[in-house]
Amino acid sequence: MNQEIRFFIRNLIKSRRLFWAVLLGLFPVVITLVLLAARPLLEDRDIEVFRLYPQISFFLYLHFLLPMTAVFTGSAVIGEEVEDQTLPYLLIRPIPKWRFAASKILANLVVLGCILILSLFLCYTVLHLPYGLSGWLDESGQLARSMGVLLLGLAAYLPLFSFLGSLFKKAVLGGLLFTFGWENLIAYLPGNAKLLTVVHYLHSLYPTFFRSNSGGILDMLPIKITMTKDIVAIFVLLMISAAGFFLTALVLTVREYRLERE
């Protein structure tokens, strides 16, 4: 399997998709640099820039960068090989089809995970620059936790959208509607419907700052959102990931792909 993973990692690194992913990853870093430049203005209003890290990681990473990268790359895992008509080169190798699906998802996880983590690390570091190493270390637990949640989120979303991409041509649209429509709507409603979103479990794992009754963002809502226990949230996210892997591999194994322009 190493051979296939290395092949897909190399392909991803050389592809144009990586350029866009890096560009997207740099976007929050640029915003934090702007905030750093505006520090005197913010401090005049009693806002310390390092205190903006939770909001930035929550809105820009968990609710923007993570779903965007997962939707666009996940739906392309099988979809781009079909669209680019390169799938036959892979399927006539003495390797079971499920291994191609699993290898490509893993390759994407590794590369995109690195981009997300590096971007978050840079963002955190930039915001803590004025406070020296001790300031950086004081809040580093929050950094580690948000990194872990982002990786878990990527591990859940990516196979899920790979599955959609293996089934439908317009999987990107479906993915965007799911993440920016369904998830954003349902996750903040009372009742159990939120259990049908991925983001609910990510919220449950996010640093305590965001939890109810902790003075965090969710406290601003007029209703009380109950969270899932950490261990349950991790288990559900891993199950979603496993289901995504399994279903993508299954579709690739049983489905015939008629390539474009045939």
């Binding site: 190399r10 392909n11 390169t86 003495p94 390797i95 045939e262």
Partner: protein
């Protein structure tokens, strides 16, 4: 290694891809011949396990192909479509795909170098495929198909876009692969290309098998279309007169200026068997003898139209 189709059909909803094909192909070169849209590519995809038969089966070496990934060790496939990971170099492209056959890195490297050399791509191996000409892309596609030394090679329109030198080299390579005991199946809609590679053809049109076998034998079976034989000799009048005495000879046209006559016979085998005795008996000196419609094009025309 033998390739078999048993009552093989494939349809997409109401559209028939191939219909009830039944044949067996052994070592050597076999040409899949048919006009564009005849079902050649569908057939190759069925034979390489990319498509699942709607009915019947495809066997390679006695084993069904669909979802039988282990069989792919013995299969090489050069697709028709001009599709690549264009950001890879030729060496990376061939090397990565060869490595997926489970060879060690040294062995993969060795096979890649050899395949690139055979395909005449050594000089351009480290350039990105995106910058290749159409002919170079065809060669690199071919290189990935045979780099792992498959026993069965499926080539879908392999000469498309190649320059004359590329065509010559590729035809030579295909013929050599067939002579060396490999089973090589080449699809093409260009008749003279196939004719240069092999005498064995499978003719398909509208997804149906029209004929399979040696081109000359197929020609003989087409009794609705008499065979034309043109003979240049020193006694055109005598030969014309003698030939008209035979029942199977339908007509004789002669051209005194050129010193040749063209005979139409409905029994080519009998005609060819009888001719040597006839010319010896009457002392006729034959300068040349050929059949203008015993080529692939004529067979194709008769069967398809």
């Amino acid at each position: 290694m033998k390739v078999e189709a048993r009552h093989l059909s494939k349809w997409y909803g109401q559209v028939i891809g191939v219909n009830d094909l039944d044949f067996e192909i052994g070592p050597g070169v076999t040409g899949f011949l048919g006009p564009n849209g005849a079902g050649k590519s569908t057939l190759l995809k069925l034979m390489t396990g990319q498509l699942k038969p709607s009915k019947g089966e495809v066997l390679v070496g006695g084993e069904p192909v669909w979802n039988n990934y282990k069989l792919n060790r013995n299969i090489g496939y050069c697709p028709e479509q001009d599709a690549f990971w264009k950001f890879l170099t030729g060496r990376e492209f061939v090397g990565s795909l060869v490595a997926m056959h489970g060879f060690s890195s040294e062995e993969s490297e060795k096979r890649t170098v050899r395949a690139l050399e055979t395909a005449g791509m050594t000089e351009h191996a480290d350039k990105k495929i995106g910058g290749y000409s159409k002919g170079m892309r065809q060669r690199i596609k071919l290189a990935q198909a045979f780099a792992h030394d498959p026993k069965v090679l499926f080539l879908d329109e392999p000469l498309n876009g190649m320059d004359p030198v590329g065509r010559r080299d590729t035809i030579e390579f295909i013929k050599k692969a067939g002579r060396d005991g490999g089973t090589v199946i080449v699809s093409s809609h260009i008749l003279h290309e196939v004719e240069e590679m092999t005498d064995t053809i499978l003719l398909i049109n509208h997804g149906r098998q029209l004929a399979h076998g040696n081109i000359f034998e197929i020609r003989e079976l087409i009794d609705t279309h008499p065979l034309q034989v043109t003979i240049r000799c020193d006694q055109v009048n005598v030969l014309t007169q003698k030939l008209l005495e035979f029942d199977d000879v339908l007509s004789v046209q002669f051209d005194r200026e050129k010193g040749q006559l063209t005979v139409e016979t409905k029994k080519p085998r009998d005609f060819h068997a009888r001719l040597p005795d006839l010319v010896l008996k009457h002392g006729i000196k034959i300068h040349s003898l050929w059949s203008p419609d015993e080529n692939l094009e004529a067979v194709f025309e008769y069967l398809v139209r």
